[in-house]
């Protein structure tokens, strides 16, 4: 059995058929996972500037660039093993560098609340075994974590849910659009206006405490009906998606407030990248913060140290990126300042960022070409194993060798 690293569900029931050192067929992965396991067409080649060179030279050059940098930053690692993440944090510490990952512009604040125990949470296995009411809020799991509903939340039979989803479970979607996930939640889809999450939470809290909810232009009956379902739930889960997080990010505590009114409910942030939670946990353990940290005499956390801000303010001169493509994922207005700095790119594949990088270091695909561990979206530690031998170094080894050389 192999573990899929296509998303933070880390499905560990995957079979692969290997032929002549290549993956020929995958069994049980969703389409997204099959793509991840089969790998990219364009492998990154080791290079300095335009010049193709030996990987060893790339590593030395990367170390030299980082050593001479005035304000270096390390970014990414959400598609790296936990071992590589620990190395990245150590390297940032050694260089007095800034370190950040994609969670600073997605689910970081939610994961932080989980780690600080501001949310009551539970494991995905608890959900499979016990949950009778599940809510996808601003999350299209069907698209981002395709096996979420079939492996854990809605369709499977569980210890206390033996009668099948139609009788034993209620799936609810709250979203601004009818996503594929909402389509499955058919009778229980609550469409809310854009940025309406906060007002919807307040209205729901009113309904839960027996007051008449106020929500302009919304059918009050529907909110009362929802509150009735939630009150009756024996074991509930709210899957907080990126849509919800974006919408309430200035006051994410309101979700914790809602959680307090629903003692049988558990909150779980939906995570995309397979080991984003691992990054958050590893950095949290070391510094008490989940992202956007600058090392120095002591680690400091500030939004200024998030990738979006450092690029906007052009406050860094060197960026090491591993397993991420900021040029693709950040708005162009910000990402364009990447062109004015020295970038070191560690990735299995050619990316937009690798095309403008000073140094490119090809890496093994974790979970396929190298093993390690990762943290599932619910905090469970999962083993990754290698199933093909490629000769590429893993992120952990690359970062370790850079660290030795700086």
């Amino acid at each position: 059995m192999v573990t899929c690293t296509g998303c933070a569900l880390l499905c560990d029931d995957i079979e692969v058929i290997v032929e002549a050192g290549r993956i020929k067929e995958t069994k049980n992965t969703c389409l997204r996972g099959a793509g991840r396991i089969k790998g990219c067409v364009n492998r990154l080649v080791p290079s300095i500037g335009e010049q193709r060179v030996d990987v060893g030279n790339c590593i030395e050059k990367a170390a030299e660039i980082l050593k001479n940098a005035e304000s270096p930053m390390l970014f990414g690692f959400d598609n790296s093993t936990s071992g590589a993440q620990v190395k990245a944090v150590q390297l940032a510490n050694k260089l007095d560098a800034i370190i950040d990952d994609t969670s600073s512009f997605c689910q970081g604040i939610m994961v932080e609340k989980v780690l600080r125990q501001e949310f009551r949470t539970c494991s995905l296995d608890d959900i499979r075994n016990k949950a009778d009411v599940i809510i996808y809020w601003g999350s299209d799991a069907q698209d981002s974590q395709p096996r979420h509903l079939s492996r854990f939340s809605y369709f499977p039979r569980g210890e206390e849910r033996q009668r099948g989803y139609e009788e034993d479970r209620t799936a609810i979607a709250i979203d601004v659009r009818e996503s594929n996930t909402a389509k499955i939640c058919k009778g229980h889809f609550y469409r809310i206006p854009l940025k309406g999450d906060r007002r919807f939470i307040l209205a729901l809290m009113d309904a839960l405490s027996g007051r008449v909810p106020k929500f302009d232009g919304y059918d009050v009956q529907k909110i009362l009906e929802l509150s009735g379902i939630l009150k009756k739930a024996k074991f509930g889960a709210i899957f907080a998606g990126i849509g919800l997080t974006y919408s309430i990010k200035d006051d994410a505590g309101i979700l914790a407030d809602l959680g307090r009114m629903l003692p049988n409910f558990h909150i779980m942030p939906m995570i995309g990248h397979y080991n984003m939670r691992g990054f958050n946990e590893n950095l949290f353990r070391e510094t008490g913060f989940v992202n956007s940290v600058k090392f120095g005499s002591e680690p400091v956390h500030d939004n200024r140290y998030s990738i979006a801000e450092t690029l906007r303010e052009k406050s860094i001169d060197v960026l090491l990126v591993a397993g991420s493509d900021p040029l693709l994922s950040l708005p162009r207005s910000i990402a364009k300042s990447l062109a004015g700095m020295q970038v070191v790119c560690i990735d299995p594949c050619v990316t937009l960022t690798s095309k403008i990088s000073a140094v490119n270091i090809p890496a093994a695909v974790s979970g396929v070409e190298c093993g390690g561990t990762a943290v599932r979206m619910d905090g469970k530690k999962v083993e990754l194993s290698a199933c093909v031998e490629s000769g590429f170094l893993g992120d952990e080894e690359i970062l370790g060798r850079i660290m030795e050389a700086v």
């Binding site: 389409l31 099948g164 499955i184």
Partner: protein
């Protein structure tokens, strides 16, 4: 999937009974359920019906992949999410320790499996829609977010 009306509109509408059915409408119903073929209506093979015949053929084409049970998996729509694997009552009954609890199927008695991110159906004769105690089961159609499973 075309409707009976759509098929009927393209037939000669003479109720000549050469197809063995009493009306063109009855023939359209049989066509839709794949019990009769277009060629069974000999009049439509005449040249003057060429356009209509071609339309009929193209309407009925997407279902060509259906086996005797009439199930079609539109592979191009499937995302491999596994909802059908876990929801199908046959899979639940035949693999209580695997598919039924959301895991990968552990034996070959299940109807649905996912290979290379796409669902593959086998053992279709076990499907609850067939056999003498048949029921109109929707447990693989309803959970599919993309409409990839269809019975014709």
């Amino acid at each position: 999937m075309p409707t009976v009306m759509e098929l009927y509109q393209l037939l000669p509408k003479t109720n000549c009974k050469k197809c063995g059915e009493s009306t063109c409408m009855a023939f359209a119903v049989e066509l839709l359920s794949r019990k009769k073929k277009i060629q069974d209506c000999t009049p439509i093979l005449e040249d003057k019906f060429k356009n209509q015949r071609e339309k009929l053929e193209s309407l009925l084409l997407p279902s060509e992949g259906a086996g005797e049970t009439g199930m079609i998996v539109h592979t191009e729509l499937c995302t491999g999410c596994g909802n059908c694997v876990v929801a199908c009552p046959v899979d639940v009954a035949n693999d209580p320790g695997g598919a039924a609890i959301g895991c990968a199927p552990t034996n070959d008695k299940v109807i649905f499996k996912v290979v290379d991110g796409k669902v593959i159906a086998s053992n279709i004769r076990e499907c609850r829609r067939f056999g003498k105690n048949r029921v109109l089961c929707y447990a693989c159609i309803d959970p599919c977010p993309t409409g990839a499973i269809e019975f014709v």
